[in-house]
């Protein structure tokens, strides 16, 4: 108990944030969205102050192109920041929702920047009384750093196309991943043409510094949270695979040991991005939740085979070095603000909830757990859940049925937990399951403010 307290204190000292229980998820997302919008306004304000009165189509297209470029680039930086593993963002919004933001914003960014290119070229062509094609050639050849910017645009479009859902389904994760890395190169290549050809920056030093500062902030966030912090964690704890255990036919648990694990932050409900340093697996990092409360000596994750990577994972050897980024995930005991707690797990979503089920502070008889899986054979960690339920005098319900069954409806929740309205509810599973469960829970009377969800992208 003392060690848990000490760990909580240590973490709170690092990231001082008001208690999250105060706001529901939509409110927290609203706060972050407002901050992003403020930055966007500041960006448009640069354009506003720098734009003299317009007259004629040429100047209007050019001005439109400039503001599109500024807004698109600002949102491109936001795009990078969303994936920079910034702890504040993770705790406020959660990685799962950040990924959704990243996808939507990504589509918007590519559209804005494409429109930027088209509008500027058209405006210049009209001013020079030339064709669009002639102006395109001239822009690329004659304007400073425009060739690099053209390459950047091509890269961004490629990243966008390979990320479209239709393309993703036909592509290996590996291909998509490496193409996606080129987005960073695009940001770098596009930077010079903004400073050297961008009007806002050529004439207004304040705008210039604002822009440079934005880029530096994003760069710093990347270096700190995606490189520095994980490297420090790696050298401090030196994690290695200790044991791989079969849970169900398609689910395994992987145990890891390391040094000074009592100093590892990370608690029940959280996950790390794991990178198993084998010859063919080192380059990819995947999120898996801790399926057991960290005890200072070992960590455990539980993984269901659902793709190339998760089917390969059970074959990692004992002793394999593990590079972990984290902890992430805001679905922790900290979110809870009521005595009674209900856990609702869908499939492998059981992993983080099992850890919370074991470790969340609660009086006897105040916990409930509903676990849904496809069939009886698919209830991973069932024995452990039953043991914990006995120890903590908790209600425990297993529901089996295929995903398409309307097996999970408000009636089932009400019959299992009649007083669901008085509970904090933690929901975890695939996006489809979580959305479905939240709807059912609200119909059963659960309070939006006390619903805490973590969605797995399978």
């Amino acid at each position: 108990m003392t060690t848990t307290r000490a760990r909580e204190r240590e973490r709170d000292a690092v990231i001082p944030i008001a208690p999250l229980a105060k706001w529901a998820q939509p409110e927290r997302e609203g706060i972050v969205a407002s901050v992003v919008a403020l930055g966007l306004l500041a960006t448009i304000a640069m354009w506003w102050t720098n734009t003299t009165s317009l007259h004629g189509w040429a100047s209007e297209w050019t001005a439109a192109g400039r503001v599109l470029g500024l807004a698109g680039t600002y949102l491109l930086l936001v795009q990078v920041l969303l994936m920079a593993r910034v702890p504040v963002l993770d705790r406020f919004i959660g990685m799962d929702r950040l990924a959704v933001w990243h996808r939507r914003n990504g589509e918007y960014v590519v559209a804005l920047l494409t429109a930027h290119v088209a509008a500027i070229t058209l405006g210049y062509a009209l001013a020079a009384h030339q064709t669009f094609a002639w102006e395109t050639g001239t822009l690329i050849r004659r304007y400073p750093d425009m060739l690099a910017a053209t390459v950047a645009m091509a890269l961004l479009v490629t990243v966008g196309v390979t990320s479209a859902r239709i393309a993703r389904r036909r592509m290996k994760y590996q291909t998509w991943y490496f193409v996606h890395l080129y987005a960073y190169l695009a940001v770098v290549l596009a930077f010079a043409h903004q400073l050297n050809s961008g009007n806002e920056f050529a004439t207004h030093p304040a705008s210039r510094w604002f822009w440079i500062a934005l880029h530096l902030i994003v760069l710093a966030a990347l270096l700190i949270f995606r490189v520095g912090v994980p490297l420090a964690l790696y050298s401090r704890h030196q994690l290695r695979v200790d044991k791989v255990e079969q849970e169900t036919p398609d689910t395994v648990s992987i145990w890891m040991t390391g040094r000074a694990l009592n100093r590892l932050r990370g608690e029940s409900g959280q996950f790390f991005l794991w990178r198993f340093l084998t010859r063919d697996g080192w380059w990819q990092a995947h999120p898996f939740s801790l399926s057991r409360a960290p005890d200072g000596r070992r960590l455990r994750i539980t993984v269901k085979g659902a793709g190339d990577y998760t089917n390969w994972l059970p074959r990692v050897k004992r002793g394999t070095r593990v590079f972990a980024e984290g902890p992430y995930g805001a679905c922790t005991a900290e979110r809870r603000s009521r005595d009674k707690v209900l856990f609702v797990a869908g499939g492998i979503g059981v992993a983080p909830l099992r850890a919370l089920f074991e470790s969340i502070p609660a009086r006897r008889g105040t916990l409930s757990f509903i676990y849904r899986a496809r069939s009886e054979a698919d209830f991973a960690l069932r024995d452990e859940l039953e043991k914990i339920a006995r120890k903590r005098d908790a209600r425990l319900a297993f529901i089996s049925g295929s995903r398409d069954d309307a097996a999970f409806d408000p009636e089932i929740i009400r019959s299992a937990v009649p007083d669901v309205a008085d509970h904090d509810v933690f929901v975890c599973g695939s996006t489809g399951f979580v959305d479905h469960a939240i709807e059912a829970l609200r119909d059963a009377g659960a309070d939006q403010r006390h619903l805490h969800a973590e969605r797995f992208e399978l």
Binding site: S53, L54, H55, G56, T62, A128
Partner: protein, 165 residues
Amino acid sequence: MRRAIVATLGTIAGLVALLNYKTTALPQRVNALGAGTTPTTTGALPGDTGGNNSGGGPGTTAPSGPGSPTTQANDRVVKGNQFDNQFGPVQVEVTLRGNKIVDVNALQMPTDHQQSLFISEQAAPMLRQETLTVQSAQIDVIGGATYTSESYAQSLQSALDAAKR
């Protein structure tokens, strides 16, 4: 799909609103670099700039400016040197009647960038007016066209020097 439509329409509406505020209906467009009475607007396609002083040298005198209705027989038209700044080349020719500056014509003004073109269009008449008022190259810098104003003054000074006024 609905989200995409909303985003597209929202962006277009925002853009149109922004542009709408910034658009002022001018009674008529100022002719390109329309400072002078001569209809000459030399060269200045993007990129075809020479180095400093690559334009016509000073002292090119002619008995009369071409086509200028106010030109009289004893007027001298003197070209200044071309001066480059980061936005493009600037070159003026000055029309003198005795020692009096009666006209200044911008032969070249920066047109490389869209914005430069508009700045040039707006600044050229102001710089001309300024010159006719102060009757020297000691003209004030036009706000928003700092570099162009300086190059303009330099070119003007070189023309006046060449005319040994």
